[in-house]
């Protein structure tokens, strides 16, 4: 490892880095703007200037930009050199010539990288006395506010938006000191990753518009480490609250999962927490009034929980703790998975493949490092958005490796690498029922029905391994596609096969498993990534339970009088008629949930369940990674974690094992002991008794303001802060001011680093893992015996039928997820319900775009406007899943129109 000398001290640094990375990784302060650990260096802002000296005798040295200079052994560097300092100070002076100095009214104020760097360089006196340049701002949609006057032209926004995330509608316009960053015309930013601009921008040009709707200074937030609820990937987030309302979500760096970024559903989908539809008090309905009056709700529940006739329905969007406690409360034989039959089949199959097969699940970061990617039946941008971002990085891996060897520049020299790579892409193959956004990156993208996708997958695996069945009756085109994909995979080192719930087909998942296993048999280090629909879909399947359908059957057989429903709307899981029958039959519905929904209408007792922001718990992501989320704030209502309600019910019932459990640590340890699959979840974070220097870790920064005043309109004396008996976090400013264990970092802050850029101070090296490693624990590792079971039942090819259309599910990042649609901004982006047809089918049915088509699904009538899309498989009808008003429980299935 190179030894470098910085201001007459020697340091050992990592090879292949640039000087800026080396200095920051050593904990030294050096200001910068345009460099970003995930985006590399371009040398635009000139802020990170240092001096380098040829040798010990060189006293003059020369100024260089540390971000553009590779570390070299025996290099002599000075950060403190007066010329370098003067230059860095003047760079701020230049940047400030046109900056509006409107920190007092800027959303970034106090958490602004530009402010921090200004202070760091010592620039404090304004020499420029001419007029400032001004710009017009643009409307960019519901997620981001645009204030161009603040821009310091670091080019990070376009580099992230276009180069990194593949966006097309944000660009840099004009030249010299009129450079403009925005859209050609104002309008909604199209990228699903646009919200990251609020964090990538070092000042207040792009700011979070949802925060602006209920603005508070960022240092006034009470925050906690959390995990995104938006999909099954488990991206790490920080959630911040003030005055009892959740105000913003920001990225929580995790080098194995989401790195520096989030998708817009994840960042903005939080506002359901503040919804006026929140359930805030326990309610007892439909009972004789004398029975409910004055009797504690737990008594009511106790009375209704008839032994042998009480069932529990779990939830893929509830924590592992809540599900596990419910399962134990009602008994294993009475616990049902609150997921649709289709989702259950798909997720349980994916789980089985990962648990029993020899190929490991890829983390998001491993996915980004794959060299060949095969996507089977997934529109990732809509089903697992951050995985799509990983795939975008993966397709660059091979071309980047190639040009590094020919052009001889390091990978972090971003502009040079992109120039040399041009449009070259590594092998990515996509098979999906219709076009996806990633198709533009693919070497091959084909659109066909799920069964045909599976057949090609089986065909690929047959070409890779003769243990696999041959696919009979494959078309010439299908054979050619399979051959092309197999050829690319054969030469891969770390290929990634992606499938999941998107196609709604078990055969597709099986074919993906076969391909990965066949590669494994060839000695290739293959990876699998299965998308799952919800934040704890995988955890719930690992916990295990009976199918939801059998709960309905049991009720219809009069064997279930009381049902406890955990954080679930059964109308999204069952078709409407089944759900109605079920609710007609059961006498008492005890619901624990956040929001009023159709299931709540049927409930006889409702308990207000805490959302992720009001709860502690554990989620297991699609990779099998268990991650802890922490309660952000303590509600002053009756809202509490579902698992706590359930423990209280257990205590009221005198439950044998649960009665003794009270706090999170006890619940987590109990699960870790009683469920072997969850072994180790009690080590995810330090327990409630953990202290540093005798102190808890505060959820509020020391800059938090107003605590003595904020409740003064109610009571002049400052109220006692809530206790947190469950974790080592406090709900106050008091506590240990230093760095907490990585898994419980409530906010990123370091002296002189008030913006999100301070994450550098929490990492072992810039862009590297946090000091205690990556949060979370992988619960599923490949089967040690490396057996490759292989699936052999190849589906029949799908051929368009004349009488029927094959209904296929289409997912939408905005709309398909249950809770995020309660954010007004996301609601704005939800497409209107539609039915998508191929042009030929539309012609046959004599309909055009916008015409309304009528069909029946399990007796439910639908009339939807037609959208024609010729990339859709002919004979198929695409239907948006999960959108408000579209309650199709089962797809694929055949329908008649």
């Amino acid at each position: 490892m190179p030894i470098i000398n910085i201001d007459n001290k020697t340091y050992e640094v990592k090879e292949g880095k640039n000087l800026l990375e080396a200095c920051l990784s050593l904990g030294l302060n050096l200001p910068y703007f345009c460099w970003h650990p995930a985006l590399g260096a371009v040398g635009a802002c000139r802020q990170c200037a240092v001096k380098v000296f040829k040798d010990e005798d060189d006293k003059k040295g020369r100024i260089i930009m540390s971000c553009m200079e590779p570390v070299k052994d025996q290099q002599r560097v000075s950060i403190e050199d007066s010329d370098a300092k003067k230059f860095r100070e003047q760079v701020i002076g230049w940047l400030m010539t046109n900056h509006p100095h409107d920190c007092a009214v800027c959303d970034e104020g106090g958490a602004c990288h530009l402010q921090d760097m200004t202070v760091m360089t010592g620039h404090s006196y304004r020499d420029y006395h001419f007029t400032k340049r001004t710009y017009n701002n643009q409307y960019l949609g519901p997620f981001l506010n645009h204030e161009m006057n603040r821009c310091i032209q670091c080019y990070r926004c376009v580099r992230f938006y276009k180069d990194f995330a593949g966006g097309k509608d944000l660009d840099v316009f004009a030249a010299h000191n009129h450079v403009y960053f925005g859209r050609q015309q104002e309008g909604v930013l199209e990228s699903e990753f646009s919200g990251n601009l609020a964090e990538v921008c070092p000042t207040g040009v792009f700011t979070d518009k949802t925060l602006k709707q209920h603005y508070t200074r960022k240092w006034d937030l009470t925050s906690a480490a959390s995990v995104c609820q938006g999909c099954g990937l488990g991206c790490n987030i920080i959630a911040g609250e003030r005055y009892g309302a959740l105000r913003q979500i920001t990225n929580r760096f995790n080098s194995a999962v989401n790195g520096y970024f989030l998708c817009d559903r994840g960042r903005y989908g939080y506002e359901f927490v503040n919804s006026p539809q929140r359930i805030k008090t326990p309610m007892v309905y439909h009972g004789p009034s004398e029975l409910s009056n004055g009797i504690p709700v737990l008594q009511h529940i106790h009375r209704r929980m008839k032994p042998g006739k009480t069932i529990g329905i779990g939830s893929p969007r509830a924590s592992l703790e809540s599900n596990a406690v419910l399962k134990e409360l009602v008994g294993e034989e009475n616990f049902y998975l609150g997921v649709s039959a289709g989702d259950h089949d798909l997720v349980s199959l994916a789980l089985k493949v990962l648990q029993q097969g020899p190929v490991r699940a890829a983390s998001l970061q491993e996915a980004a490092a794959a060299d060949v990617v095969l996507i089977l039946g997934e529109d990732l941008t809509n089903t697992a958005p951050m995985l799509a971002l990983s795939v975008r990085q993966a397709v660059r891996r091979i071309p980047v490796e190639e040009v590094i060897n020919t052009v001889h520049v390091p990978a972090w020299q971003d502009a040079a690498i992109r120039e040399a790579v041009q449009e070259n892409k590594g092998p990515l193959y996509i098979l999906n029922v219709q076009q996806t956004k990633l198709d533009e990156l693919a070497k091959g993208a084909w659109h066909t029905a799920p069964d045909n996708i599976a057949r090609i997958g089986f065909g690929v695996s047959h070409l890779l391994s003769d243990k696999m069945p041959e696919v009979t009756g494959m078309s010439e085109q299908g054979k050619a596609i399979a051959a092309e994909i197999a050829e690319a995979l054969k030469h891969a080192k770390n290929p990634l096969i992606i499938a999941g719930y998107g196609s709604g087909s078990e055969a597709v998942i099986k074919s993906a498993a076969n391909v990965a296993w066949a590669l494994h048999d060839l000695g290739i280090d293959a990876m699998l990534a299965f998308t799952v629909p919800e934040c704890n879909s995988m955890g719930l399947e690992m916990l295990g339970g009976h199918r939801l359908e059998s709960a309905v059957d049991r009720a219809l057989n009069n064997e279930a009088d009381t049902v406890i429903i955990l954080e679930n709307d059964l109308y999204r899981r069952l078709n409407q008629h089944r759900a109605e029958h079920f609710f007609d039959k059961v006498q008492d519905v005890i619901l624990l949930d956040h929001l009023y929904n159709p299931t709540a209408e049927k409930a006889t007792i409702i308990l207000p369940a805490g959302t992720f922001a009001e709860s502690d718990g554990t989620l297991v992501n699609n990779e099998g990674r268990a991650q802890r989320f922490f309660q952000v704030f303590s509600s002053n209502t009756a809202v509490q974690e579902s698992w706590r309600w359930l423990l209280q019910i257990a205590a009221a019932n005198g439950h044998a094992t649960l009665s003794s459990l009270k706090h999170l640590d006890e619940v987590v340890s109990h699960i870790a002991v009683t469920c072997p699959v969850f072994h180790g979840i009690d080590t995810l974070t330090p327990g409630a008794g953990f202290r540093i220097a005798g102190q808890k870790v505060p959820r509020e920064p020391h800059r938090y303001s107003g605590r003595t005043a904020m409740q003064a309109n109610i009571q002049v004396s400052e109220p006692k802060p809530p206790e947190d008996p469950d974790t080592a976090l406090s709900f106050t400013m008091e506590g240990y001011r230093g760095e907490p264990p990585s898994s419980m970092i409530p906010f990123f802050w370091a002296p002189g680093w008030n913006s999100v850029q301070s994450v550098n101070k929490f990492q072992t090296e810039t862009g590297g893992p946090l000091h205690d490693g990556d949060g979370g624990k992988r619960l599923i590792e490949p089967h040690p015996n490396g057996q490759t079971p292989f699936y052999t039942e190849v589906p029949e090819p799908y051929l368009p039928l004349t009488e029927h259309l094959l209904l296929v599910p289409l997912y939408h990042i905005y709309g398909s997820e249950e809770l995020s649609v309660h954010t007004p901004g996301i609601a704005e982006r939800i497409p209107a319900p539609y039915i998508m047809l191929h042009g030929e089918d539309a012609k046959r049915l004599q309909v055009a775009n916008g015409h309304r088509l009528h069909f029946m699904d399990n007796g439910h009538h639908y009339t939807l406007p037609v959208i024609i899309n010729n990339t859709l498989q002919q004979g198929a009808a695409g239907i948006p899943v999960g959108l408000p008003g579209v309650q199709i429980a089962e797809a694929p299935q055949l329908i008649k129109v």
Binding site: I63, V91, Q153, A175, H176, V409, A415, Q422
Partner: protein, 424 residues
């Protein structure tokens, strides 16, 4: 006195057509090269002549070519930089409008030397006549078999295209030119990697100035010793020099490398116009330091001008006389440079408009001594290495030398609260 580059250009300035060019020995060098020389031998010959780039930087052309990696597959490119936009510079225009085939022949030979498959002439947008002339010349060269597949029946093929820019000074910088040619923003690239390794579309590329490339046929015909013998100094060849300003005969002339400023001014430009006194000159275009009458005997070659504290640049001198305000003169230049900044790096984007505004304030009588300090600060901090490319350092050269040589004029603006040269 030999004038290889311009000898055949008629006094009328009308372009030599293909037949006329051939009649004076045109394309003989190409014929000879393709018959007798390997690409490496061509490069060696250019190296041997020690031809230095005529675009301003003065880097050895043969050396530049030799950096093209030998063993890479895929296309390679040759680009003629005809984006002549340096204020005060009009030397390439003379060659483009007068003898287009000389450039084409030089380009074909150079392309052969680096085994390029495609060549471009990147021409300044405003050179409408030159563009028309070059379009015809390229078509004629294709028709005559000097371009296209199997040139002159040999195993070498080259495609050629004229590309006219959109009028950005930045495109004179070779990497910004390449970005522009790719259809991207005309911002410079970091070096390394140099264009020889990763240039146009990320492929090995050589960008040479029009005057440089126009010399190649002559070096092939006559050799390096001949080339060196043309010059008065160690830098070989002739050079097209120009003079503009209040002189009797502004113009451009091809002269032996190393003529003195005095000879250029007095013999060729005919001395100052009556009633005007020489105060100084930018010897090599707008982005070079002023030299004054103390420097009139400086030899105008790369080393000579550098020793006097300026740069040969393009060799086209802009003369400052005693009735033109040096502050106004420099303000005009900084206005140009500020406008032409690409906006990529901070010091140039924000610093140049600042200097422009200060100079304007001085001209308007609003300047202060603190403003002079700000100007000084900019001349020091917008130095090479501090900015991304050479535009801002170049822009500071006339300013820093004006502050040095004409300080009293700046101070007079402040003291009198007006421009002393203003006539009203």
């Amino acid at each position: 006195m030999e004038r290889p580059l311009t000898q055949h250009i008629p006094a009328s300035g009308v372009a030599l057509h293909l037949k006329e060019y051939e009649a004076v020995g045109g394309y003989a060098a190409l014929r000879k090269v393709l018959q007798e020389l390997t690409p490496a031998e061509v490069t060696a010959k250019v190296k041997d002549a020690n031809l230095k780039g005529r675009g301003g930087a003065g880097f050895s052309t043969g050396m530049k070519w030799s950096f093209v990696p030998a063993n890479v597959t895929g296309p390679r490119y040759l680009v003629a930089n005809a984006d002549e936009m340096e204020p005060g510079t009009f030397k390439d225009r003379w060659l483009l409008e007068g003898n287009p085939h000389q450039l084409l022949e030089g380009m074909i030979i150079s392309a052969y030397a680096i085994q390029a498959t495609q060549a471009f002439v990147f021409m300044r947008w405003a050179y409408k006549d030159a563009a028309r002339i070059m379009t015809r010349a390229i078509a004629d060269a294709y028709a005559a078999g000097y371009l296209g597949k199997n040139i002159l029946g040999k195993n070498y093929s080259l495609e050629m295209q004229l590309h006219t820019g959109v009028g950005r000074y930045m495109c004179g910088e070779e990497t910004a030119l390449l970005n522009s040619l790719e259809g991207k923003r005309a911002v410079p690239r970091a070096k390394p990697p140099f264009p020889q390794v990763s240039g146009l579309f990320g492929k090995p590329t050589i960008v040479n100035n029009v005057e440089t490339l126009s010399y190649i046929p002559h070096i092939m015909n006559n050799g390096g010793d001949w080339f060196k013998s043309l010059s008065y100094t160690a830098d070989g060849g002739t050079k097209i020099y120009g003079v503009s300003g209040k002189v009797n005969k502004p113009g451009a002339w091809e002269l032996p490398m190393g003529v003195t400023m005095r000879e250029l001014l007095e013999e060729h430009a005919g001395g100052m116009k009556a009633g005007f006194r020489f105060r100084g000159a930018l010897p090599g275009g707008a982005s070079t330091d002023f030299l004054t009458d103390a420097h009139l005997d400086v030899k105008m070659d790369f080393a000579g001008v550098a020793a006097a504290g300026s740069r040969l640049g393009t060799g086209t001198m802009v003369v400052l006389d005693d009735q033109t305000c040096p502050v106004g003169f420099v303000h005009n230049l900084e206005h140009f440079f500020a406008q032409e900044s690409c906006g990529f790096c901070t010091p140039c984007r924000e610093g140049l408009p600042w200097t422009e505004k200060i100079l304007y304030a001085l001209e308007q009588g609003h300047g202060t001594y603190a403003d002079l300090e700000q100007l000084e600060m900019h001349t020091k901090l917008l130095g090479p290495g501090n900015t991304f490319c050479a535009l801002a350092p170049g822009a500071m050269e006339p300013l820093q030398s004006a502050l040095k040589y004409f300080r009293e004029d700046f101070e007079q603006h402040i003291k009198e609260k007006k421009c002393p040269y203003a006539h009203h």
